[in-house]
């Protein structure tokens, strides 16, 4: 039971020979992820953590079929890497780089949509189903954050994920799947597009979204709830409640323009749709407890 990734997914790693690529490949494997092949142009014949490396995605998947691609390449090469994976028929892609050019973010999202693929990122730590598998960079060994359980988490922020998830775990819960959609203004996949997966996942009892000022992703979640496309309990925590107008708070997507994208507005819209909105990270845990009581799936 998990969303986006599980142990039966076969992963190809683009940029596997880089320092980040090789470091996190090791940890993905250690967690139980099925990594089958790697790609770094010019480095065919090498291996990383026992995983064979090929020049191109086409050559890699011909020898070792993969259904998902994890991309560890710098932002300016990300579009090329995503399109290369799509070209080889891969339909599940995670890309972590921060700083992908805006117009290329549009092209990546449009290409994924046109091919029926899902691209998560950029500017994210990736996706993890604790205790099962991950595509990305999560310190799953920190037990007070990455504890397996039955709460689904979607987030726009890596640093805030640790902060909020620790509160979920402290309240006696654990995580089914955690998906970092990323902090960019044009992410490849949006919160609401993942809700049907969490709805269908029998391992998820409730969903926490970690949002922030700017954009409309939180409003789209409210819309999905209003339309009954998602009806499990949902708790939101939103950063930037007191952020001054017109200032970009860290993430490219975190800015209020022309009065749109305020946390105040998002909070009201979510509440109207039936979501609970936490004012502080700690409250995420207590609101979940209120909604669910003690987590039945908790192994604690």
């Amino acid at each position: 039971m998990s969303v986006f990734i599980d142990r039966d997914d076969t992963i190809l790693i683009q940029g596997i020979t880089g320092s980040e690529g090789s470091f996190w490949t090791r940890h993905m494997i250690e967690l139980g992820t099925t990594v089958v092949v790697g790609v770094t142009p010019g480095k065919e014949g090498q291996s990383v953590e026992g995983i064979p490396v090929y020049h191109s995605v086409r050559r890699a998947v011909a020898a070792h079929p993969a259904n998902a691609a994890m991309i560890f390449v710098p932002p300016r090469f990300t579009k090329d890497a995503v399109f290369e994976a799509l070209d080889s028929g891969i339909r599940k892609i995670v890309t972590i780089a921060e700083g992908i050019p805006l117009h290329e973010c549009l092209e990546i999202r449009a290409a994924a949509r046109d091919r029926g693929a899902r691209v998560v990122g950029g500017n994210t730590s990736g996706v993890i189903s604790p205790g099962r598998a991950m595509m990305g960079m999560f310190p799953y060994w920190i037990e007070r954050v990455y504890k397996p359980g039955r709460i689904g988490i979607m987030t726009r922020s890596g640093s805030l994920t640790n902060e909020v998830t620790a509160m979920v775990v402290a309240a006696g819960f654990g995580v089914s799947s955690l998906i970092g959609v990323g902090g960019d203004s044009v992410p490849g996949t949006r919160f609401a597009e993942l809700l049907p997966d969490f709805q269908a996942d029998t391992g998820t009892d409730a969903v926490v979204i970690i949002g922030e000022l700017g954009g409309t992703m939180e409003e789209e979640v409210a819309e999905a709830m209003e339309a009954r496309r998602f009806n499990k309990p949902l708790v939101a925590f939103l950063g930037g409640r007191n952020a001054p107008k017109g200032r970009r708070m860290g993430h490219a997507g975190a800015i209020v323009t022309g009065g749109k994208g305020t946390v105040e507005g998002k909070t009201a819209t979510l509440r109207k749709a039936g979501a609970l909105v936490a004012a502080r990270p700690r409250e995420v845990g207590s609101l979940l407890f209120e909604l669910l009581g003690r987590n039945p799936g908790s192994k604690a």
């Binding site: 921060e98 549009l106 449009a110 726009r156 640093s159 640790n162 922030e212 007191n242 708070m249």
Partner: protein
């Protein structure tokens, strides 16, 4: 990166969009001379990045040389930090139009917006009279095809030669949008002159920061930042925002730093600066603390929950920074994540009291700042 009006208009003019005749003046004498050259009436436009320049009195219509001289002196002396004036011919206006191109993150397309009523605050209009705004969604792979320009011209009620001019401007504006990796290009207002020509009254161009590496010659100088510290931080690649409160933030991660800001305000505290030293900057603790100390803060609050940015490496940097910079204000560390046990040891050895709870750290920082320490 937001360009100044004169830079945006330069880009527009090169793409073939008509702009008023103008000179850029760096002092009042040059402005007066430019005004005389252009002829009267003309307009003195302060080149600052803030919105609402007209309402703030930073744009002046002048009728003769003495008035130009006087207005220029006043504008250069304004508290808004005016260093450049665009001296522009005054155009005889029949009416005004609005045009812009921006991105639609949901549809993954660009969107061209047009409105027959220029000079408006478009977000306001979108809220009150959305039917007055016409839009064409454009996929980047398809590009801006002529039929979209024709559609918009018909919606705007333009025909004949005006429609031809508008279509050419829309096409040029699209090219500016794509070639400059823009988040936004906007002509507001686009003047329809009494002689039946179109000319860009204002110009706005926001370049996507992640694309600056391939925008040759575009480097944000000091006048793109609101403080020296913000400019210096940007040169180091350290995300920084200047405020004028008591508590300096030295945190890791955009989301967490933003929430720490929220919590401080909730507790009744004030922020001196927002600063992220996580991500690629987690070895830059000394530089980060130096920037914080420029604000003479009452407290430095350090909150991290690092993944790749290891807690022990950050703690090492912080103790090193304290040894080198000897800050007089108290420092509150709340450093968690990979390597936190080692981090705690190092912080204690340096005489700091590490905390593990963000809210507790914030409360302590606010209490110390209010206690009038020092």
């Amino acid at each position: 990166m937001k360009l100044h009006e004169h830079e945006a208009k330069e880009v527009f003019a090169k793409a073939g969009i008509p702009v008023p005749r103008s000179f850029l003046a760096l002092d009042a004498a040059a402005a007066s001379q430019a005004a005389t050259t252009i002829g009267f009436p003309c307009v003195l436009k302060s080149q600052v990045l803030m919105g609402g320049r007209g309402k703030a009195g930073l744009i002046r219509l002048v009728k003769d040389a003495p008035a130009a001289q006087e207005a220029a002196l006043e504008l250069f002396a304004s508290p808004h930090g005016v260093h450049k004036l665009l001296v522009e011919e005054a155009v005889a206006i029949e009416r005004e139009i609005y045009l812009s191109i921006t991105v639609d993150p949901v549809a993954a397309e660009a969107v061209v917006l047009a409105c027959a009523q220029g000079g408006v605050e478009i977000e306001e209009l979108a809220a009150t009279a959305p039917e007055k705004i016409f839009r064409e969604s454009v996929s980047l792979s398809e590009g801006f095809l002529p039929f979209r320009a024709r559609n918009l011209c018909m919606s705007l009620g333009l025909s004949g030669d005006l429609a031809k001019q508008a279509a050419a401007i829309l096409d040029a504006l699209w090219k500016c949008f794509r070639a400059n990796d823009a988040e936004l290009v906007e002509i507001n207002p686009l003047f329809v002159t009494k002689s039946g020509t179109l000319i860009a009254g204002d110009g706005k161009l926001l370049i996507d920061d992640s694309s600056l590496f391939r925008q040759a010659g575009r480097e944000a100088g000091r006048d793109y930042y609101d403080s020296d510290a913000a400019f210096e931080a940007a040169k180091e690649g350290i995300p920084y925002l200047q405020f004028d409160g008591d508590i300096s933030l030295m945190c890791a991660g955009a989301g967490l730093t933003t929430v720490v800001y929220d919590l401080i305000v909730d507790e009744g505290g004030t922020v001196a600066n927002y600063l992220e030293f996580g991500g690629p900057n987690y070895r830059k603790a000394v530089r980060a603390m130096e920037l914080c100390l420029k604000n003479d803060p009452k407290v430095i609050l350090i909150v991290t929950f690092g993944t790749i940015a290891r807690a022990d490496v950050m703690a090492e940097g912080i103790t090193d920074a304290i040894a080198r910079l000897k800050p007089k204000c108290p420092i509150i560390p709340c450093i968690r994540g990979t390597g936190e046990d080692k981090a705690v040891e190092m912080l204690r050895a340096a005489g700091l009291e590490p905390l593990f709870d963000t809210e507790e750290a914030v409360r302590k920082a606010v209490a110390l700042a209010k206690g009038g320490y020092r």
